[in-house]
């Protein structure tokens, strides 16, 4: 008894030690609306330069899905000042590495460079933002690349369509109805103009967060940011600038009623020519409306049961529950609940369905948190000869248990350890810190969350976990999908 008490106190002390390790940063907005976050640390002579664009598949038109992800590819094609294919080459030649990714809510680009190449990184990202190559040649190339990616990652992967299948049933109105990879038909049907418009709407300063972490000198970094990003025109003026680069003198004159020659692109604001200056001022004052869906309010009110035939050998069960969005106060407790059920080999679902009952080949659950809504997913691939109903029963047993009983102290301690490990490893690299800061700024109500989030997890109690289980694991409102082998489709016979 004494020992347990003592170790309890010790672990509380230890967790406070972690809480005190603040990640310092500085943040400000540029006049054109770019939000800048800088984290300075000199442990390693490298820098991570990243730009988060607040655009994902949920910002797409229903008949133009896949655009956000498509842009993640397209925007490596180059810019006015960077030749096709040269973007990655410049990074690699200068000792760096780069990548990008897209979700329902965001598109994220980053470079990791030696710190003496910071200016290069800032220039590269500013080029991408101001005037990337969005033309038919690049579109054609990337269409085939993206199609290949979809073939490899989705079409040829058994069960991989379950995300599409669950989201489309859960969200009938909200654009979470579709997923980032989108529709290849839409990409094919889209014209160059559609792509250009997407760029003009979403790839603009007011929609971007520039997050730089690593071995930087704050003053020098700010000066370079001003030079390359500060000079990017504000509001609709960015598209005026893009037009000045892309339109012929006649087209430009026709559209703006000002001679193209009158505009100085190298010194864009203020312009020497009074007429041009008026034009730039006018367009700078016009904000760009970024279309964003409202948070999803639609709820699931009943059990939706369906069968999906796929190119698979073993049947599988997917169940989905409506969770709140990722910034909802209940979401941390839902994540921790999920870890009790499915965090690692010794978790409840794996121990019961896979190891003890041996009814499932693989079984897991996860808490899917997004900006506008969330989802809890339970998934299992049946063991040979086992039916999906018995798997559902086993899942339900686990769901009933977590709703009806407090989790054990040992399980609670283990998942708290997991969160601390996870927190430390995410913030052990400058690339991880740059990303966390940008994410927290855009989606979690502030960059400061990087220093307070772990405390929020550690504040979750066993009672909270039981409460959210009861609230969100609603047996009378869920999606139940049976994945069956193609051969069993009666329509095929």
């Amino acid at each position: 008894m004494k020992y347990i008490l003592l170790s309890g106190i010790l672990s509380i002390l230890a967790s406070n030690v972690i809480g005190q390790r603040e990640i310092e940063y500085l943040e400000y907005d540029l006049d054109n609306g770019i939000h800048v976050i800088l984290h300075e640390e000199h442990a390693t002579p490298i820098v991570a330069v990243s730009v988060l664009y607040h655009v994902g598949s949920k910002n797409e038109q229903p008949d133009r899905t896949g655009f956000a992800h498509f842009f993640e590819h397209l925007l490596f094609e180059g810019s006015e000042n960077i030749d096709r294919g040269e973007y990655s080459e410049l990074v690699e030649k200068n000792g760096g590495a780069l990548n990008a990714n897209t979700s329902q809510d965001r598109t994220y680009y980053y470079e990791i460079l030696p710190s003496n190449q910071l200016e290069l990184g800032i220039w590269l990202e500013s080029e991408r933002m101001l005037h990337a190559k969005v033309d038919i040649e690049g579109i054609e190339t990337q269409r085939s690349v993206v199609k290949e990616e979809k073939r490899q990652r989705v079409d040829n992967q058994p069960y991989a369509s379950f995300i599409t299948e669950t989201f489309s049933r859960m969200f009938k109105e909200h654009p979470y109805n579709w997923v980032p990879i989108g529709s290849m038909e839409h990409l094919d049907a889209a014209q160059e103009e559609d792509y250009v418009n997407f760029y003009r709407t979403f790839y603009v300063p007011a929609n971007a967060t520039l997050s730089i972490a690593g071995d930087i000198d704050i003053e020098q970094t700010k000066a370079w940011i001003d030079k390359y990003f500060g000079s990017i025109p504000k509001g609709e003026a960015i598209n005026l600038y893009r037009d000045a680069e892309n339109l012929s003198p006649d087209e430009f004159k026709k559209k703006y009623n000002v001679e193209l020659d009158a505009l100085d692109l190298k010194k864009f604001s203020p312009q020497r020519d009074p007429q041009a200056n008026e034009l730039v001022k006018k367009y700078s004052a016009m904000p760009i409306e970024i279309p964003r869906p409202e948070k999803a309010t639609e709820q699931l009110n009943s059990v939706i049961k369906d069968v999906v035939y796929d190119n698979i050998q073993l049947p599988a069960l997917f169940m989905a529950y409506r969770f709140p969005d990722q910034s909802h106060p209940d979401f941390h407790a839902l994540e921790m609940m999920n870890d009790v059920l499915s965090g690692g080999a010794s978790s409840r679902i794996n121990k019961n369905l896979v190891e003890k009952q041996q009814i499932a080949q693989f079984a897991f659950s996860f808490a899917y948190g997004l900006e506008d809504a969330g989802m809890g997913i339970f998934a299992a691939i049946a063991a040979q000869g086992k039916d999906l109903d018995s798997i559902q029963m086993a899942f339900d047993e686990q769901i009933d248990r977590i709703k009806n009983e407090l989790i054990s102290k040992e399980e609670f301690e283990k998942i708290r350890n997991q969160y601390e490990n996870q927190f430390v490893s995410t913030n052990s690299t400058i690339a991880g810190i740059a990303e966390s800061l940008a994410d927290n700024h855009v989606y979690a109500g502030g960059a400061e969350k990087i220093n307070t989030e772990l405390d929020e997890y550690l504040a979750v109690t066993r009672e909270d976990i039981q409460r959210v289980a009861k609230k969100y694991l609603t047996q009378d409102a869920r999606i139940i999908l049976h994945y069956l082998p193609m051969e069993e489709n009666p329509d095929n016979k």
């Binding site: 230890a14 967790s15 030690v17 972690i18 390790r21 603040e22 310092e24 940063y25 500085l26 943040e27 400000y28 907005d29 540029l30 006049d31 442990a43 390693t44 002579p45 490298i46 006015e80 000042n81 030649k93 200068n94 000792g95 590495a97 990791i112 030696p114 710190s115 003496n116 910071l118 290069l120 800032i122 220039w123 500013s126 101001l130 700010k222 370079w224 001003d226 030079k227 390359y228 500060g230 190298k266 010194k267 203020p270 050998q313 073993l314 690692g344 080999a345 010794s346 080949q361 040979q384 283990k414 350890n417 997991q418 601390e420 490990n421 430390v424 913030n427 052990s428 400058i430 400061e448």
Partner: protein
């Protein structure tokens, strides 16, 4: 906590900046210095040198213990240290392997070991628990028999696959050529040396090697000096052990003149070429960094490097040609090469030697130098984020007696390397005329190799770097070998010395209509058992199914006229007429019985050792696959088959061994079958073998 939030609009950048010309690309700033703090070093009473690199950036700490012993000659037990290293994490006298694994997971720590070190990393708050487990493994590893057996079996399979892996064979030959017997680097594990390794020698290795005396404990991360001293005393203070072995192994063996070494890989369509030589340098020498830059330009710098540009981009001899330098306290060497089509084997060697000559004779270009420096600086910089890199540096400074700021100033040193430096080290350490040229490949490439050898004599080594024992000529004809084999597999039918033996056998075999064999296969590379079912039905229907985890991985079916196969992830394909024709050359339940009438090409090529047994070797060619069948010289039962299938420029080699023959329906069949493909090793036990049973063909035709 300091935090600044600067209000919107404080900056009016467009006014601060006048013109901006975006077409001007930013120049790099001066190379940064590295902020690696000096390490604290202290020695414990029991002889451990503790190196602490304090870093409180994140609440994590790692302990890496490296023993101080130099490598020792393992002679007839070569491979012992590797096997012992693999087994250290197999449990202790206090914890079984399962318990150990669980306790590590519960605190989210990492604990791993090899033949001369143990590493533990955890959150600072779990350090005590992590060190409890680490010191338990360090002092109380107990090497359970069952685990010893498992690892030795696994290594047997690996050795079998070495013979089909040209890359490993080339490495073995390169090691043997640069470091002849008497140097630990030249020792290569074989079936014979593996057979000499037992639990007691493993325990002995562990007890003599893992000793505090002369060892290094590198501590990195969120821990103070005072705390480190406390932890080291608590967890390693009671550790005792003998003096470490110290041997100066010197350098490798330098040639005078180029030496060509050939390792035969029957049926190969590509040659693996390694051009190598020893270098007289240790990691502490200032030339080491210059050699790294030189090597980056030569063949370690990706597409831009000279070997890649010449042999891939320009000549299209290969997909990749690389060079590497290996610099250690106990011996150092250079090696360059890759895989090349048979017909360009000699041209590729000519070009590799040409590039060596060039780099020894002339300056590299400024562009090459600057590219090599920036790519090396970049990857060096990124590597520093890993705590393990810092730990490695701290250890390297102490062990190699480097200046304390060696890694701090690494980028400046790199920047300071000149063309002149590179030419000097090239001339000092590299050569195009005293190389070991190792070629692993098809016999047909040998005639073109003589011209590279200083004395024109090509040496031949086996898969394990030992002098190749020439095949003993066979004293029997191919037909005599086959006849003896048939007597061996049909012992009772063949017992009477009847003149009508052939007829008698034929009559017996014609009474057999079908056979179904079920084999349970296990493999270290595959986490679940696999069942294969094979069927044969007269006259020549064959089918096979591979199943596991409730899934069918592959199925095949052929009836002598048509056939098909299907594999997971590959899809279904019809057999081509060539494949059908090839399969019809192996007809009947004992195909060897019919070789004379099916058109199978076969010849006896000599007597050779196969897995420790002398065997008659028959070379077969069915028009699609070349295979070598090994018939035991004593029993005449088939000990194994090596088959080589060629698909374009790829060859797939499969080695099967047959053991534990038993009599089923008057026929001797193996009950243990091992299959090795280079990627995977499977061990199969025959679960059932049914003669003349009803067979449902449907599953095979799917």
């Amino acid at each position: 906590m300091k935090k600044y939030i600067i209000a919107l609009g404080l900056f009016v950048p467009t006014l601060l900046f006048g013109q901006i010309d975006r077409s001007i690309r930013p120049e790099a700033a001066p190379a940064p210095t590295i902020n690696i703090k000096d390490s604290e070093v202290f020695k414990t009473d029991n002889g451990i040198t503790v190196i602490l690199s304090e870093n409180h950036k994140i609440p994590r700490v790692s302990f890496n213990l490296v023993v101080g012993s130099d490598p020792v000659l393992e002679k007839e037990k070569t491979g012992l240290s590797d096997i012992a290293g693999t087994l250290i994490m197999s449990g202790t006298s206090n914890r079984t392997k399962d318990v150990l694994d669980n306790e590590i997971d519960n605190i989210g720590a990492t604990l791993s070991a090899d033949n001369n070190s143990i590493y533990m990393s955890s959150l600072t708050k779990h350090m005590d628990k992590g060190l409890t487990l680490m010191s338990d493994v360090l002092m109380n590893a107990n090497f359970p028999e069952s685990e010893v057996d498992r690892i030795i079996k696994q290594n047997e399979s690996n050795l079998t696959s070495t013979k089909s892996d040209a890359g490993s064979m080339a490495q073995n030959a390169t090691a043997a050529a640069n470091f002849p017997k008497g140097h630990p680097y030249g020792e290569i594990m074989t079936f014979e040396t593996l057979a000499n390794i037992d639990r007691s020698s493993i325990v002995d290795y562990y007890k003599t090697t893992f000793s505090p005396k002369g060892s290094y404990l590198v501590v990195v991360g969120d821990i103070t000096l005072e705390e480190t001293k406390k932890m080291v005393e608590k967890y390693f203070g009671s550790w005792t052990g003998p003096q470490p072995n110290q041997t100066d192994w010197g350098t490798g063996k330098f040639n005078s003149g180029n030496r060509v070494i050939f390792v035969e890989k029957p049926g190969a369509v590509q040659s693996v070429i390694y051009v190598s030589f020893p270098m007289n340098i240790t990691p502490s020498h200032p030339d080491y960094l210059k050699l790294k830059v030189l090597n980056n330009i030569m063949g370690a710098g990706g597409f831009a490097s000279r070997l890649m540009q010449n042999l891939r981009e320009d000549k299209a001899y290969t997909y990749g040609c690389y060079s590497s330098i290996n610099v250690t306290e106990d011996g150092s060497w250079f090696s360059a090469g890759g895989n090349f089509r048979n017909e360009v084997t000699d041209s590729a060697i000519t070009q590799i030697l040409f590039e060596l000559e060039q780099i020894v004779d002339d300056y590299v270009t400024d562009k090459e130098l600057s590219l090599a420096k920036s790519s090396m600086a970049g990857s060096f910089g990124r590597s520093l984020e890993r705590p393990s890199t810092i730990a490695r540096f701290a250890l390297s400074i102490i062990r190699n007696d480097l200046p304390k700021d060696y890694y701090q100033t690494y980028l400046q040193q790199l920047e300071g390397v000149t063309k002149q430096d590179l030419l000097e080290v090239a001339q000092k350490y590299w050569t195009a005329s005293n190389c070991n040229i190792v070629v692993v490949g098809n016999e047909e490439v040998v005639p073109d190799l003589g011209k590279f050898d200083a004395d024109g004599k090509i040496e031949r080594l086996d898969a394990f770097g030992n002098p190749k024992v020439e095949k003993i000529p066979s004293d029997l004809t191919a037909d005599e070998v086959l006849n003896n084999y048939l007597s061996a597999v049909l012992p009772n039918i063949s017992a009477s010395k009847s003149k009508k033996l052939a007829k008698k056998r034929k009559k017996f075999l014609s009474g057999i209509e079908s056979m179904e064999v079920v084999i349970e296969m296990t493999s270290a590379q595959i986490p679940f058992p696999i069942t294969t079912k094979s069927i044969w039905m007269a006259p020549n229907i064959r089918g096979q199914l591979m199943e596991g985890q409730g899934m069918t991985f592959s199925s095949s079916y052929s009836d002598g006229k048509t056939g098909q196969q299907q594999a997971m992830g590959v899809g279904k394909s019809e057999m081509t007429p060539e494949e059908i024709a090839a399969s019809n050359k192996s007809m009947g339940i004992i195909p060897e019985f019919n070789y004379t009438s099916t058109g199978m090409e076969y010849e006896v090529i000599g007597i050779e050792n196969f897995n420790g047994r002398d065997c008659y070797v028959l070379k077969l060619n069915d028009g699609k696959t070349v295979s070598f069948e090994y018939f035991d010289k004593e029993t005449f039962l088939k000990a194994g088959t090596v088959s080589i299938e060629t698909e374009g420029e790829e060859t797939q080699e499969v080695t099967s061994t047959y053991e534990d023959y038993v009599l089923v329906n008057e026929i001797m069949f193996p009950s243990t079958i091992k299959v090795s493909t280079g990627e995977a090793n499977l061990e199969g036990k025959v679960v059932s073998r049914t003669i003349n049973a009803e067979i449902d063909l449907a599953p095979y035709k799917k």
